[in-house]
Every structure is written in C-alpha cells, then in structure tokens.
C-alpha cells in the first residue's frame, strides 16, 4: 500500500515533468548556433579536447574523431551526453572538438 501510493505520486510528478519538458522542444537549437558560439569562443576547442580526454575512455576505447562525420558526431554526442553524464555545455565543447578534428 505504501509503495503503491508512493508510486502514484512519483508517477504523476514524472508525467508532469515530462509534459513541461516536451513543451521546451519547440525551440530548435541547431548546430549552426553551436558553430556561431564556437566562433565567438576560441577556447571551446581546447576545453572540448580536455573534456574528451578526461571522459571518452572511461567505459570504452577512445574512438577516433575521424571515424564519424560531423553530423554523425552530433547524434553520437547526444547519446554519450546521457551515458557519460555530461552537461550540455561540455557536450557542445566536445562536439566542437570532434567536428574540428575529423
């Protein structure tokens, strides 16, 4: 009974978060914006290189930047952001580094 009401409350809370989250999906954040920030942020590549070296050999061998195209890295980095526990900013930095190194 205790677990049941607990699960109902958390269920409702999570569904509420989910709905509000889907609302934020409407504003696109394209890679063009990322590129624009990269031009305004010359340190991004260096930060990305460090975060890449620190993070990307934790679970598996370090994949070569040249093994994927820029757009493929965009999808792979979205995936790895969740797996590796990265912030959006760290993800953008590493993406800029990988896209600049392939």
């Amino acid at each position: 009974m205790k677990i049941k009401s607990l699960s109902a409350i958390s269920g409702i809370t999570i569904v509420a978060i989910f709905i509000s989250a889907t609302m934020s999906l409407q504003q696109p954040a394209t890679a063009a914006e990322t590129t624009a920030t990269a031009q305004n942020d010359p340190m991004q590549f260096a930060r990305g290189a460090k975060a890449w070296a620190d993070t990307c050999a934790r679970c598996h061998n370090m994949r070569d930047a040249r093994s994927l195209r820029d757009d493929q890295w965009r999808a792979a980095m979205a995936h790895m952001r969740i797996r590796a526990g990265l912030t959006a900013k760290e993800t953008e930095d590493i993406l800029a580094f990988l896209q600049g190194s392939n």
Binding site: H60, R81, I82, A84
Partner: protein, 422 residues
Amino acid sequence: MNTTQRLTFVTLSWLMLATATTPALAQASSSRIADLEAKMNAMAAELAVLKEELAAAKASGDSANLQAMQADINAAKQIAERATQSANEWKDVTSVTHLSGYASADYVSPENGNAAFIANFNPMFHFLLNDKLLWEAELEIEVEENGETAIGLEYTTVDIFLNDSMTLMAGKFLSPVGNFRQNIHPSWINKLPSAPPGFGHDGAAPISEVGLQLRGVAPVGDNSRFTYAAYIGNGPKLEGEDGEIHAIEAEGFAGDPDDEKVFGGRVAFLPIPQLELAVSGAFGNAAVVENDGVDFEGDPTRDYKVLGFDASYRWNDLDLRGEYIKQEVDPQEMSVAPEGGKWETWYAQGAYKLGQGKWEGVVRFTDFNSPHPDDSQEQWAFGVNYLITPSAMVKIGYEANDGLAGEITDDDRWIAQIAYGY
C-alpha cells in the same frame, strides 16, 4: 638712257609682269586651297563617321560583354549559393538520423562439450530532434542453436534534455543499477569475449526495465562530478520451478502482474575523471508469474531488492574495474515457491594496453553465487586482444571455470571473437 630712266623702265616692266602673272598665280593657289578644303571636309566627315562608328562599336561592344559577364557572375553566384546551402544543410537541419551498433562472431570451444561458431548483430538507431530530443533504440539479433533467429528489443527510449544537466527518458532502457549491463556489455567494449558470470540472463544483475528514468550530472569544482540515475519501472517477474524460485527475470516487461512499481537508481562520484565510485540499488515487489514452465496467476507478491557497488580506475594504459551486485527476493509463505533467494556476484578486472594501444592483455576474476548450486560459478578469465581500431578487435579468451562437477558451469573453455562497434 640715264639711270633714272633705266630704273623706271625696269620697275615698270616688273610691274607689268607682276600684273600679268598675278591672276594666274591667284588662280592656282585658290584652287589648291579649295582642294585642300574639300579634302579636309571629306576627312572631317570621315572622321565623324568613324567617331560615331567607334562610339557605337564601343558602346555596343562593352555592354554586350558586361551583360554576358553579369550573367556569368549571377549564374556562378547561384551555383555557389546552392553549393554552400547544401554543404551547410547538415548543420542547419532540425533532425539527424544515425545508424550505429555492434556485431560479433565467436568460436566457443569447451573442454567437454562441442565446439561451435556463434554470431550476433546489434543494430542501434539514433534520431535526434532539435538537439533536444533523442530517440535511441537497439535490437539484439542472434542465431540460435536450432538455426532460428532470435530478435530482441534491447532498448527503445525517448530521451528529453530537460536543461543543462538533466535528461528524462521513457521507454525500455538498460537497467541503471550496476555498471556492466548499461555500459560494458557490448562486445566491442567488453575486454573479454564473455560476460562475467551473474551478469547474464537469470543472474544477479538486473538487465533492463520499462518505465521512466531521470539521469543527470552535478559537477563539483573543476575536476570532480556526481552522476545520477533514478527510475520507476514495472519491475521483474519470478520464475518458479519445483517449488523454488528458479530465477529473477529482470529483463524489462511491458506489464506488471504484481501491480507494484519498482524504484531504483545509481549515484556515482568521480573525484578525478579517472576514478569512478558508485553505489546503486532498487526496491519494489515481485511475484511468481511462471511456474514449471507454464504461465501462473494469483501468486502473492513479495519484496524485491537490489544492491550494487562498482568502481573503475584508469592510469595511462592500465584499466581497472570491479563490481559487486546482489538481487534478492523475500520468502512468501503463501506462494507456490515459498522460499526467498539471493543471487550475488562480483568481479574484478585488470587490462593493460601494449604496442601503442594495438595489443591488450586482460585478467578477470568472478564469483557468482545463486541459490541453486548448479548455477553458481567461480571463474578466472584471461584474454589477449588485437585492436584493429579502437572499436574493432580480435579477442582470444580462456575461462577456467569452477562450478558444480559435471555442470557446464564447471567446463573450462576457449573463446575466439571478432567484435566491431560501428
């Protein structure tokens, strides 16, 4: 004649001559002038015509060239614009599709059983929308002993990036409890050709879950961070056999016969990027839904608990990791299988890269304890890998297995594997 007379005479005769010749002279010069004048006029007229023609030629010639040039420029501009547009298309699109995954082909040769080739293929799909939503899905396709093909949906989740640090996932996901299942099991990642005992099906570690999961990160200072995952899901099913719980099936079901959700998660701390220390667990309820191989209804529920610890450390070419995990269910007097049970396993693994990362040596020890002695197993596994690329390799492994005498858990074996993460 005197001088004066002579002078007058000469003057007069000069005058007469002059007078007589002057008209002729005048006549001659005036005709030449007229001639010249005529010539000059003609020339002037000619020049004017030429000038006009030149001007006309100039004007008409330039504008044609200019027009042609302008047209060329416009065409070139359009081509360049189109080319840049399509070259930049991938940057500006709102969705990206990516096909990835991994596959392996193995040769397994046990000391007592029959040697055989095995093969599997795990395609993975990524659909990214606006850099804010990722749909990830993976199939596991395997050839079975009887030649049939087994297809499983390893996971399918919609991942929504809530903010800088949090992601919400819904669907079927790999269990975030423990580390091996969610992060190490793909054949191109696992440094040995087999999973450590207890991390497979019917083992000590849950495999997957259907529900909702929240994942995130909390950086601490410049170099440290916490990562976390919390979930709610349908939970496992219990399999009864001969009045005992044969196994906890924690493989992600789209149904919940015990009608009680399971909660769980994992928190990891990385004091430095090379060291990860994590604790994970889950709790909820479970019930027997299959007894002696047939579906079974109405079994009362019982408590279900999971607890795990895992750690990993990297230092240059050395990679160390270890994990402990246990999954248990309480006794339930009213059940067809009244006893509870505990499935517990741990492993420690060391790997070292040599030859500029082309070769790798691996050692792993595992101790898996199940309530059923014929499933329990201790294992030493040794491996040598040749890395064609960081995600394509040839692995040779040897397992020294110690289980119940006469069981396959006691059979040592060699495994050769080619694995590729693409």
